[in-house]
């Protein structure tokens, strides 16, 4: 039971979007899919859900190819940034249409969510603001009976209260009925503790793929006087640095050299997910301006 993405290669107008990408999405886990603008997050989700076809590579669910395959596509719901619902449709019609094609729909939960978010289900989709379109799509995503729910930018246009409500409802429905969620977002801090496993896309490749807690135990900030810090991190995987007055911080991803004595002047702390992401995905140019 899992979705396997193997050796996916995709180019658009001659520009590489994804390059030899491999990953596995397991049942009943909450994943974070992180990447900078244009890193290929939406393209990846679109390829997995067969909305676009990759130039090469394969996507399978339980060893069945997913390309143009109803039986696997019916177990997956992708809430995309692009609005695919007709502007003329009323919200409750959309609920019924979803029920028709997915075979079922949690109408009671949808009504409860619509009430909490203040969404009028008699309104037409086209009349909604950006935030409420997102809310409408989110409600459908949380009520559809699919094993794999992909949420591309799930909090786009949502205010802080609605985001809070969404995260709570996500955990609630996940606890009641465990299934897989893949959340693609730029608001890393808000989901950092929510996701169990993280994928980071950078430069068309997967630069990070692992359990969040495992990854964070290997991410360090080494702070202290420049010479001491440089001496200590010599040969380690330094992914970024910051300077403030005489204090230097080196960000390290990977194991530290335990044989090396830690000078009294230097402190070692763990990095949080957002800081790790920023340093991993900074381009060289941005890193240079950051230093100055």
């Amino acid at each position: 039971m899992s979705i396997q993405v193997q050796a996916i290669q995709h180019a658009f107008h001659g520009q590489t979007v994804l390059d030899d990408l491999n990953l596995t999405i397991e049942p009943n886990k909450i994943y974070g899919l992180l990447g900078r603008n244009g890193a290929g997050k939406s393209t990846l989700l679109n390829i997995i859900s067969s909305r676009i076809f990759a130039n090469s590579g394969s996507v399978t669910m339980d060893d069945q190819p997913m390309q143009d395959n109803d039986s696997t596509l019916g177990k997956l719901y992708l809430m995309s940034e692009v609005n695919l619902y007709s502007e003329r449709s009323r919200i409750k019609q959309l609920f019924h249409t979803t029920a028709l094609f997915y075979g079922d729909f949690d109408f009671a939960y949808a009504a409860k969510l619509a009430d909490s978010f203040g969404l009028d289900t008699n309104a037409r989709f086209g009349k909604l603001s950006t935030g409420y379109r997102t809310i409408c799509k989110l409600i459908i995503a949380l009520c559809v009976p699919a094993d794999y729910i992909f949420l591309d930018e799930p909090v786009l246009g949502l205010d802080a209260n609605h985001r809070e409500l969404f995260y709570q409802e996500l955990i609630e429905t996940y606890s009641d009925n465990p299934r897989t969620f893949v959340i693609s977002t730029h608001l890393i801090e808000e989901v950092a503790n929510l996701i169990e496993h993280v994928f980071v896309l950078d430069e068309h490749r997967l630069t990070l793929d692992g359990d969040v807690s495992d990854i964070l135990t290997q991410a360090y900030t080494i702070t202290g006087p420049a010479t001491d810090v440089i001496a200590y991190t010599q040969g380690l995987n330094v992914i970024g640095e910051d300077h403030l007055g005489g204090i230097t911080a080196h960000y390290v991803y990977g194991s530290l050299n335990d044989d090396r004595p830690l000078p009294d002047t230097v402190t070692v702390e763990h990095l949080d997910l957002q800081k790790l992401f920023v340093n991993l995905t900074n381009t060289k140019k941005e890193a240079a301006t950051h230093v100055n």
């Binding site: 955990i171 606890s175 929510l194 169990e196 135990t217 763990h270 949080d272």
Partner: protein
């Protein structure tokens, strides 16, 4: 219960620490039910698996127990167990640090003893 998630300690350890602290201060009394995994997850946006990992540390340390179909409860002897543990650690966690800091500040042993006496009399 108050959680403070700005620290860089792994979240599951923080969950365990915070619940332990709540049992120690008797916010969760012995024999009482503590909030469910889902409740804690929802409130603090933490993955339920992470919360469960934290709770399992406390189960292993015999501070809480799972009652099937009901939830997690504080074990009768949990508070005294925490007190005993913290007494054991008091010397390394507090006294050693106190003395080391006092040395840096050139506070003599006699002066430190005086300060401790003052602390007891004022509180």
């Amino acid at each position: 219960m108050q959680f403070n998630f700005n620290s860089t300690e792994p979240i599951y350890l923080q969950v365990a620490d915070q619940i332990e602290e709540a049992i120690f201060t008797e916010t969760f009394a012995e024999g009482e039910q503590i909030p469910s995994t889902t409740e804690i997850s929802k409130e603090f946006h933490i993955n339920p698996a992470t919360v469960l990992k934290g709770m399992n540390i406390l189960v292993d340390n015999q501070l809480i127990e799972k009652r099937r179909g009901v939830g997690m409860f504080v074990i009768a002897s949990a508070q005294s167990r925490i007190v005993a543990k913290r007494r054991d650690q008091f010397y390394t966690d507090y006294v050693k640090k106190l003395v080391s800091e006092a040395r840096k500040l050139h506070i003599t042993q006699a002066e430190l003893a005086q300060l401790i006496e003052r602390g007891f009399s004022e509180s």
